[in-house]
């Protein structure tokens, strides 16, 4: 069983706890062990980098050093945590002087950054480390006929890391297809949900969310799958506000891809924390009921 350090991040503790639990369930079902990092701190979101770059790298490096101490590559389910950790790791590796400066601070907590581990995002990890074929072989409850919108968002794919496809990636679609679902061709799959603009520029963010929901409806997606707590919260929890603001009547469910994958892998729905959403999950109820019948 391959083992990774899990960096849940602040969102997965509460507002996105369904992502946390379903990620653990899916990993277990697919033979991956995720061990939560002990005493991790906030990744910095976007705010640290607005205030001080050195401080931002230090706070992110503490988490990297915690994973190094365990000798494990670290996986982040949140796209923003992933982006911060991945690039802090890359920049510190490329700049030994910067790393030394930060190591001077880490010393206070008995930690050290040596650049010995890799940072992965959960979606990419499942797509490459496990792969669609292996996922397919574990599926017991295929999501047949379910039209799913694969919403990558921004920071799972951007900024560019090497020579990967940043305009038309397909790995999310591949995972959804492996789960038996039908991934729709979503032209806005890489378009921004607004992120923290929902707080700092509410009107702009609600416009972005509206455009995404409209595009999802246009390609007849029954449900949107996300791989980031920010995307999930913006698209789902603010859907009602979009409706009030623009006079629309969206009621498109938005779930974490791990919840859909878990369902396909036969994990009981309550262990995937269905029921915490604000928009009803009608399109997936047949698949959830099937599992309930099997259990009974």
């Amino acid at each position: 069983m391959k083992k990774f350090a899990l960096f849940p991040g602040c969102s997965l503790e509460k507002i996105a706890s369904s992502y946390h639990h379903s990620a653990l369930e899916v990993a277990r079902a697919l033979g991956l062990e995720l061990q939560e990092l002990d005493d991790w701190n906030c990744c910095g979101a976007t705010a640290y980098f607005h205030v001080d770059e050195l401080l931002a790298y230090t706070l992110s490096a503490r988490n990297l050093a915690l994973a190094e101490k365990e000798g494990l590559d670290v996986v982040a389910p949140c796209a923003a945590c992933f982006k911060n950790m991945y690039f802090t790791n890359a920049h510190l590796k490329a700049d030994p002087e910067l790393a030394e400066h930060i190591n001077f601070a880490l010393e206070e907590d008995g930690l050290r950054f040596d650049g010995k581990i890799a940072v992965r995002h959960l979606l990419e990890l499942l797509a490459t480390e496990v792969g669609p074929e292996a996922i397919r072989s574990h599926v017991t409850n295929p999501l047949e006929g379910l039209r799913v919108v694969p919403y990558y968002g921004c920071q799972t794919v951007r900024p560019r890391k090497a020579d990967e496809d940043v305009e038309q990636p397909q790995f999310f679609e591949a995972i959804l297809a492996a789960a038996g679902a039908t991934p729709v061709d979503f032209p806005y799959k890489l378009r921004c949900c607004g992120g923290s603009l929902l707080i700092t520029n509410r009107h702009a963010a609600l416009c972005l969310v509206r455009d995404l929901l409209q595009a999802a409806q246009k390609c007849e997606g029954a449900i949107i799958a996300t791989a980031c707590p920010m995307c999930q919260v913006n698209l789902e929890c603010y859907q009602q506000q979009v409706n009030l603001e623009f006079g629309t009547d969206f009621s498109t469910p938005v779930v974490y891809f791990t919840q859909l994958l878990g369902l396909a892998l036969g994990v009981p729905p309550r262990r995937l924390e269905f029921g915490k959403e604000l928009v009803a999950l009608a399109p997936i109820s047949p698949f959830a009921e099937k599992l309930a019948h099997q259990a009974a």
Binding site: C42, A45, H50, Q155, R158, K276
Partner: protein, 187 residues
């Protein structure tokens, strides 16, 4: 005595060496502005802002909302034909404006960022309710009520934390931060 750097020189210096090409490489093609999902809400498009920086229009740049409206989606960065990391430039401008204490009046971004960082330095983890006053007070009544309604729905679903989380080794964490920012930091 060394010559004082120009404004465009100062901004270039704020970009970390590994963050792509310098803004001098910009050929004003406008791919960034065409790509940016929030360009229509900005007073200057990203392309124009780069032009203003290069022409040393410091006051105009500091009075602009452009970088505070950047959502860090990095779409411009991956598309720039000259390899300029434009989203990272926006971060540099945010830091510069925070550092100088100069930004457009009424923007929530700078206030929110500062509140966020202070919160993390106190506890090591994020706790949304602490942040609410930094932006809710700028909302009009309708926005305030909508936001309160969303928060209530989330609370009822058990999706909002009731108690502020904190890391275990907080004292050591604060000493670590003190080594980076010795004055006015966490402790």
């Amino acid at each position: 005595m060394a010559a004082r750097p120009s404004f465009s020189g100062e901004i270039s210096n704020m970009l970390h060496a590994s963050h792509g090409n310098p803004i001098e490489a910009c050929m004003q093609c406008g791919t960034c502005s065409g790509t940016c999902p929030v360009a229509t809400f900005m007073d200057h498009t990203p392309r124009r802002l780069i032009g203003l920086i290069r022409a040393d229009f410091k006051d105009e740049v500091l009075a602009s909302n452009t970088y505070w409206f950047c959502a860090s989606c990095y779409h411009c960065s991956v598309r720039c034909p000259k390899g300029i990391d434009i989203a990272e430039l926006m971060y540099a401008l945010k830091r510069y404006s925070m550092w100088k204490g100069r930004y457009q009046e009424g923007l929530i971004g700078p206030v929110f960022s500062e509140a966020f960082v202070k919160m993390i330095l106190r506890s090591g983890r994020s706790y949304e309710p602490v942040l609410a006053p930094s932006y809710m007070l700028s909302f009009n009544l309708r926005e305030f009520l909508q936001e309160a309604q969303t928060a209530t729905s989330l609370m009822l679903k058990g999706r909002l934390p009731l108690l502020p989380p904190r890391i275990k080794r907080l004292e050591r964490f604060r000493r670590m931060v003190d080594r980076i920012i010795p004055i006015g930091g966490a402790s």
